[in-house]
């Protein structure tokens, strides 16, 4: 396997576009596991994008912010200028060692249904900017994930920006997850809730749940039940019941579908109450 360290986006795209099967790598935390499990063919070329300055950090844009995909999960977890659900999701990932290497772009492109930044990004209606030698395109988060570990990224394409609109930076959000144990736990289910509140009333709601479907799922029925409701005395039960009907969990080595169905409600309740400020 060949390994190239890219210092600019152009250099990375050149390398990625030039060889079939070549892959970008940032922190490498997921790749090592994929290769160890024998689940992916060993790529002929790895292009290390972790050090590309243009892919780092968070900058303001005309209509919101752009997060560099090579920003580490550790940094995302501790930033105060990002929505709470995203920071909480980042904090739930792995361990300190993993968070110091892993990147938000890596978490997104690995597209595991239980990725803890995924449901927050879907709830925040993030947009992913993909670049290749032939140009760039922007894909909404909800359309980016097409199956477990499958995205719309084409050959030679690189995620170069994660955009969140100003509208979603305002408001309140929260994230919850549960795993088999307390430390370094993979999510059996995770949930992200974002609310726009005005005068104690929910004006807009976004609810996304991970690991209950092949991709992180927006629960639009649950969202609809929240809009227009007053926060004070909010009855969450109908919302949770609607949510339970919208998800399609499966049983796997981590959890049974029954457990996922039951626990999704608990996670949503907690996330909802926190986002609503109750």
């Amino acid at each position: 396997m060949e390994y190239r360290v890219a210092t600019t986006v152009e250099e990375a795209l050149e390398a990625l576009g030039g060889r079939d099967g070549s892959r970008p790598v940032a922190g490498g935390t997921d790749l090592a596991v994929v290769l160890a499990d024998g689940l992916g063919a060993v790529p002929p070329l790895l292009v290390d994008v972790a050090g590309i300055p243009a892919l780092q950090g968070v900058r303001r844009t005309a209509d919101g912010i752009a997060i560099g995909p090579a920003t580490t999960i550790a940094e995302i977890a501790t930033r105060s200028d990002l929505p709470a659900c995203l920071c909480q999701g980042a904090r739930a990932i792995g361990s300190p060692q993993i968070r110091n290497l892993a990147t938000i772009g890596g978490n997104v492109c690995n597209a595991s249904p239980c990725g803890d930044t995924l449901s927050p990004l879907v709830a925040l209606e993030a947009a992913f900017v993909l670049a290749s030698r032939s140009g760039t395109r922007t894909v909404p988060a909800e359309l980016f994930f097409v199956g477990p570990k499958k995205t719309v990224l084409g050959p030679g394409e690189l995620l170069v920006e994660i955009r969140i609109a100003s509208a979603r930076l305002a408001g309140r959000s929260a994230f919850r997850m549960i795993g088999k144990r307390n430390g370094q736990a993979i999510s059996q289910v995770n949930a992200a809730v974002w609310l726009a509140l005005e005068g104690g009333v929910i004006r807009e709601a976004r609810v996304a749940v991970g690991s209950v479907a092949p991709v992180p799922l927006r629960l639009k029925g649950a969202e609809a039940l929240l809009v227009g409701k007053t926060v004070r005395g909010l009855d969450v039960e109908p919302v949770l019941a609607r949510a339970a009907a919208e998800i399609a969990p499966i049983s796997d080595v981590r959890a049974s579908l029954e457990y996922r169905r039951l626990v999704t409600g608990s996670l949503l309740r907690d996330a909802l109450l926190e986002a609503a400020g109750i």
């Binding site: 060949e2 390994y3 360290v5 922190g27 290390d48 060692q97 993993i98 110091n100 290497l101 370094q184």
Partner: protein, 188 residues
Amino acid sequence: MKDETMRIEFTCNGKLTSVEARLDMRALDLLRDLLGLTGTKEGCGRGECGACTILLDDEPVNACLLYAAKLQGRRVQTIEGVAGADGSLDAVQEAFLEEGAVQCGYCTPGMVLSARALLRKNPKPDVPAIEEALSGNFCRCTGYGKIVRAVQSAAGAAQRAEGAVQRAEGAVQRAEGAVQRAAGKASS
């Protein structure tokens, strides 16, 4: 080109180190096999156990997940770099021994480094902070209780040492002041 190697230069335990390695080699293998630093252990190869924890620019990472290329120009500390050059143990190492936080010792290098990284940033960690910092280091022998106590003890020891240093510095300042006053009197 296949099996192409590159010169990777980085600071390892305070020493500028230069080694020829394939860029896709794991840092774990570079340290253990090329540099003979076998204190960093392989427990799972997937970043799930923490036995391979090293400090990269003072931050703990899993060496089994780290590609050698990423060491270029960075500062690495392994367990071999923790004790003093004269063999004196650091506060965390002493505390681990004193509190019985070492049994088979395989997780110990990783634990010690994660603890040191914590205490550098947070000299007075509470129990949740200790747990969070060590949440990526697994131990099958001790049940973790004595490990938590060892980190608390090391934090206390560091503070006591710092207090002693401050008191000593204060004493030196007072002595210097006395000397100056004496000199002043002598010259006036």
